[in-house]
Symmetry: C2
Subunit: 398 residues, 2 copies
């Protein structure tokens, strides 16, 4: 297939991607992996810049110790996306024809396997991302069958752990995503009001997140959630066409999205005077958040950070059973904005380092009330930087 | 875990879901499958109504010939989503705790396996969706290991083929999605203009798609694409912050989304007078589209329908190598809006039936010009119904 002209639009310079690939190769060597077939969309974007929404047909980026740069392999029509979105040499961009789609015999992973064999990697030790959404069991079978002389190992999270510590350039992009999140939250607080349809509020939030500011726009974010009233118990359902009632709590969780890097931010907005139990729960949660922040610094463990929250809310008589946050960064709709590595949960011994970024998520469910509070922070040499600091309280629109 | 109160918000009545499950069970019986573990988000929604954006942690719907209704199994915090989004009895809604997430030993699929064994299905013939994004190789291994007495078969597309023929109620929802698509396209044509930033145009399109009309709002759609100029060769990249130049072609592909049912619609908008080669290409493509429509009726095959397009554009000296469309309906960001069943491509012998719905996608790339044109139709007894009929021409804003 002859490739069209390109104007490279990767968000980072070529050297940034080379440094990422070098770090990934270091981990591959340490684990005796010759070839990594990366299929999780956020990992593909991390390694090459490729951020097209095309994961519904098979695609992969191949990193091999013996190859100077990665290969991008996907559907023929998406080769042009790879050409524009990455710094890869066009000889490293390879595709399969549409007769691999919805075919009972052919599969896009046959093409990946064929490229490995053609490049003399047929006897390699190959790592695959066995729990990253997008590699399917059938895709994995086709890959293995097509490289019968290779051995396979589960290399899930190998790239994700490299992603967990951001570069200064990534932190800059996440600062932009934080500004987008703030724009979105300010809009949410402004438009959510009695009588306004939930869908109209969602429409304005999307507009704010994507139109962004005068200097930067946003990419399509993971879907904001904004349930109200009794429905606040449901964390991941959509809005409806119904208008907000005159007195209710609305739990808003949204993310600013810049070059697919997300910064999460959540608040509860209360329409009408807030009942005492909710105000008490909010006070305890915010106190717990501040207690957590005090522990965010290099050298602390995830377990210690989450423990500070639990200890503080316990003093107020509350308990949280689910985790208190996780490593955040590059995210696509296949995997939300969760990096699947460090978790702020009991027993997670991951040690915080500068330029790790965490979404501290403090959804609290007491008997009568639910309260949602989250922010995203970057670990710094001296502590942390809040990437989207918004009024740290229950927002009351009385 | 004790479950909260519910207000069922499933988009269809219980009988609709029962009829879907019955049809799925019929296909299972025909293939000797006792238990289906469905993991593709659109299939989960089809079988139960569950449409939360929560697929980034393991989840499944289990249909068993021996069980009256399906089981929903996922993360504990999403049980409340299942309670609100489905008609399932609360005893059919089951969850695993957060210590199954990011754990090297535990996996959410252990919980699915455990439920199968507990219900006496440990020796069943179990079907899994081996090429539907969301079942990972590791998830599949945990499922198999947890039901060691079972046998497994690839049941990918079993539910998708049932979904391919819509019910009258589904067609109604898709009519609504079509109205949303029209609102989005009218807004796109209005806002895309020289000097307008691509992100600002995207923001207004999202707003229109989600705010919808006075009577219905939209859900979060698959991301619209709207590349301009030389970048029109890239089908799946995002917008940028750059303003549209004064003379350029913009290829818009968007979908209206109602209860996660999508109706696709594409047009090319040309800013400034359209060059002759583009007008010629557009004329041929639209003529091909009409030739295709004449063949859309029960009894025709997908191959015949796409052949009518190819024959017509060939008369004008053009050729199209990729497919001309596909079955469309329920869609989540994991799989776009593509049903992965019938394709309007050469050799696809699927016979059209009333209430099948197709996105006819006619992206054309000639040497100097690209032209994008698509519409979504429902097959009727007498032919077809256009679900989002928009001006069938190159849209010129001179």
């Amino acid at each position: 297939m002859s490739l069209p002209d390109r104007t490279i639009q990767a968000p980072f310079p070529k050297a940034e991607y080379e440094s990422r690939v070098d770090r990934v190769k270091g981990r591959m060597e340490a684990r005796g992996i010759d070839v990594l077939v990366s299929t999780e969309p956020a990992n593909i974007a991390y390694l090459t810049g490729y951020d097209a929404w095309s994961w519904y047909t098979p695609q992969a980026v191949v990193v091999a110790l013996d190859l100077d740069e990665p290969l991008w392999i996907g559907r023929e029509q998406d080769m042009a996306c790879a050409l524009w979105a990455t710094h890869l040499d066009e000889r490293s961009i390879l595709g399969y024809s549409d007769d691999h789609i919805t075919d009972v015999d052919r599969h896009g992973m046959d093409c990946v396997a064929g490229q490995l064999v053609a490049r003399g990697l047929g006897a390699a030790r190959i790592g695959t991302e066995d729990d990253g959404i997008c590699l399917t069991p059938r895709g994995a079978r086709h890959l293995r069958a097509g490289v019968p002389g290779a051995s396979f190992v589960d290399a899930d999270l190998l790239v994700n752990w490299v992603r967990t510590v951001k570069s200064p350039a990534e932190i800059d992009v996440m600062r932009d995503a934080g500004r987008l999140a703030l724009t979105g939250m300010r809009t949410a607080v402004e438009v959510i009001a009695p009588g306004v349809r939930e869908c109209d509020a969602a429409a304005e939030i999307y507009r704010a997140l994507i139109a962004g500011t005068g200097d930067i726009g946003g990419d399509a974010p993971w879907r904001p959630t904004m349930p109200s009233g009794a429905k606040t118990v449901t964390p991941h359902l959509s809005w409806t066409d119904a208008p907000y009632p005159s007195e209710t709590a609305v739990n808003i969780e949204l993310g600013g999205c810049r070059h697919q890097y997300h910064v999460g931010l959540s608040r509860t907005v209360h329409l009408g005077p807030a009942p005492e139990p909710l105000r008490r729960l909010a006070g305890a949660t915010v106190a717990g958040f501040h207690a957590m922040l005090e522990r965010v610094e290099p050298g602390a463990t995830c377990d210690e950070v989450q423990g500070a929250f639990r200890a503080e809310v316990a003093r107020h008589g509350y308990e949280k059973t689910s985790r208190c946050g996780y490593s955040i960064g590059l995210g696509f709709p296949t995997g939300a904005w969760v990096e699947r590595t460090a978790s702020l949960m009991e027993g997670d011994r991951t040690v915080l380092e500068p330029n790790m970024t965490f979404h501290l998520v403090l959804g609290m469910w007491a008997a009568e009330s639910g309260f949602m509070f989250s922010e995203t922070v970057a670990v710094t040499e001296g502590g942390f930087e809040a990437l989207a600091p918004f009024e740290r309280e229950l927002v009351v629109k009385a």
